[in-house]
């Protein structure tokens, strides 16, 4: 197996965009090839397109050839769309990584896209509600906010986590996204503003939730030994963990403790030959404030049930124990489902390059992890990225 590097990234401005599904992917594709030397779309032999629900959001199926056509790629080794709800983008990176590692591909693109804004928001909510088991949980309106609302309720009930602790996640991530020009939301919020924002599904207020966002982002993967041909600053993929338990609510491991995340993290650290203490940057799935709190716990940064205190003590900030979501996370940058993990992976590359606003720069970072979850948090995926080949 070959070691694999990411040599370029490109992204569309995330937000409520006056742009269509295919407009977004063209913007990311152009930016992607402008980010790399000595490599044109025609050199790419494989493409993986992360798209969670194009059937509903854009009324399109069979989107991988459509994307290849629009960004000028002529796939001749491997082409597929990858779908794993909110992790569709990381799934695209994983497949590209596997193909380059095995020699099935020499130059692969992983690109994600989602167009969430539609004329009728109830239709968009309908689409989102199909992610959980539509006939048994979706039918009861368990879509994204309600399932994380009951998750927060159980975490508060079992561990005493407070609404104020949850609000701190929103404050931190909106602060970092205010310094990120591609972010959807670029305004700071206060704890008071979070607590006073409209109630979506108690205990979650609006600012406990990520926004609906349009966006697209891509990366290019090549064998590690070739990486320096294309860039002075490649990023190496050195570890991975992924774990899924159950699907329908009855079959989840536990609401208040994400066992599959702990298992995925253990595997990611093992394969990367690192420990949790080696992680400098963690770009994690803060779809709701409670998610990030439970990720501090699941990734091993603090004990189970102590995630609220972890942020209260200032540990997940730049300069703290570990910089969590210096991009502004999903909370600030937005969550275009199929593209989210790829935005976050590119963020780690930009951090390694020092190519970010100094107010959110994690100086000297060597190891970054990108974590995404999907469904009722029954599935967790982690990539480990390194500045140096290890």
């Amino acid at each position: 197996m070959r070691q694999v590097a990411i040599v370029a990234g490109g992204e569309a401005k995330a937000g409520r965009r006056a742009a269509s599904w295919r407009d977004l992917v063209q913007e990311a594709g152009k930016a992607l090839f402008e980010d790399v030397d000595n490599l044109s779309p025609k050199d790419v032999d494989s493409i993986f397109v992360g798209a969670a629900q194009p059937e509903r959001f854009a009324f399109l199926s069979y989107v991988a050839p459509l994307v290849a056509e629009h960004i000028g790629v002529t796939p001749r080794k491997v082409i597929a769309r990858t779908e794993l709800a909110c992790v569709s983008g990381q799934a695209a990176i994983r497949y590209a990584w596997n193909c380059v590692a095995t020699g099935m591909s020499d130059i692969a693109v992983a690109i994600g896209v989602e167009k969430m804004y539609q004329p009728d928001m109830a239709e968009a909510q309908t689409t989102m509600t199909c992610v959980l088991d539509r006939e048994w949980d979706g039918v009861n309106c368990f879509s994204a906010p309600p399932i994380f609302a009951v998750t927060a309720q159980r975490h508060m009930y079992e561990f005493g986590t407070t609404k104020e602790q949850m609000a701190l996640v929103s404050v931190k991530n909106h602060h970092y996204s205010s310094l990120n020009p591609i972010a959807h939301l670029q305004k700071e919020v206060t704890v008071e503003a979070v607590l006073k924002s409209p109630m979506v599904a108690p205990p979650l207020n609006l600012f406990d939730c990520c926004p609906m966002t349009d966006g697209s982002a891509g990366v290019i993967l090549v064998p590690a030994e070739e990486a320096k041909k294309y860039t002075d600053t490649p990023m190496y993929l050195i570890g991975s963990g992924q774990y899924a338990v159950g699907n329908v609510i009855n079959n989840l491991a536990n609401l208040a403790e994400w066992a599959p995340l702990k298992l995925a993290a253990k595997e990611a650290y093992r394969t990367a030959k690192i420990t949790k203490d080696d992680v400098d940057i963690a770009e994690v799935h803060d779809c709701f404030t409670i998610s990030e709190i439970m990720e501090y716990e699941g990734l091993g940064f603090c004990e189970t049930g102590k995630g609220g205190k972890f942020i209260e003590d200032g540990k997940p900030y730049i300069g703290g124990k570990v910089a969590v979501n210096p991009s502004g996370g999903i909370m600030g940058c937005g969550h275009p489902l199929g593209a989210t993990s790829i935005y976050h992976t590119f963020e780690i590359l930009k951090q390694f390059r020092g190519d970010v606003d100094m107010g959110r720069y994690v100086k000297g970072a060597e190891i970054g992890i990108q974590h995404s979850l999907s469904g009722a948090a029954n599935q967790h995926s982690i990539l480990v990225c390194s500045r140096e080949l290890r």
């Binding site: 039918v139 309106c141 009951v150 009855n250």
Partner: protein
């Protein structure tokens, strides 16, 4: 002015909710091998499949045991009284077909050894607490399909003498 011909064309003003965009499952035996679940509901019984070979209680109902792949399954009655494990209230962001019901409570109910999600009728969010007893109720759709919900057991709210 261009010489190209312009013509207004007709389209239906509204398109009805097609079955495959409706959240409620198709229940007729023409469409599913678990139609017995809905027949049982029509008679007031919330049931699921249990594997006769390995004993696994399966939710949602199956045609093949996901634990041992046996096809010998039997219907198991989950009872009519459950306990509220967690709950919330939909105040914003309901999907098509439910927007008119907002606000309404939904929850996870512990019943018959399972944790199943359901609508919780007859209560506001502020009235509920974890551990509350809830009773099975059946709702019938205009097209005669059925589904289960729970309603809060009102007796538990009586003041303690």
């Amino acid at each position: 002015m261009s010489m190209v011909k312009f013509e207004k064309i007709k389209r239906p003003e509204k398109i009805g909710l097609p079955f495959m965009l409706d959240f409620y499952p198709l229940q007729d035996e023409k469409y599913t091998r678990t139609s017995q679940f809905f027949k049982n509901l029509k008679e007031g019984h919330l049931t699921t499949t249990k594997c006769k070979k390995c004993g696994e209680l399966l939710w949602p109902p199956r045609v093949i045991c996901s634990n041992c792949h046996s096809e010998k399954l039997e219907w198991f009655d989950l009872g009519t009284e459950g306990e509220l494990y967690a709950f919330t209230e939909i105040r914003l962001g309901a999907p098509i077909g439910f927007v008119e019901d907002v606000p309404f409570c939904i929850g996870i109910v512990r019943i018959g050894g399972l944790l199943i999600s359901a609508r919780i009728d007859g209560a506001k969010y502020e009235d509920l607490k974890i551990g509350d007893k809830v009773n099975l109720k059946i709702v019938e759709l205009p097209d005669s399909r059925v589904f289960y919900r729970f309603s809060r057991n009102k007796e538990q709210k009586l003041p303690i003498p």
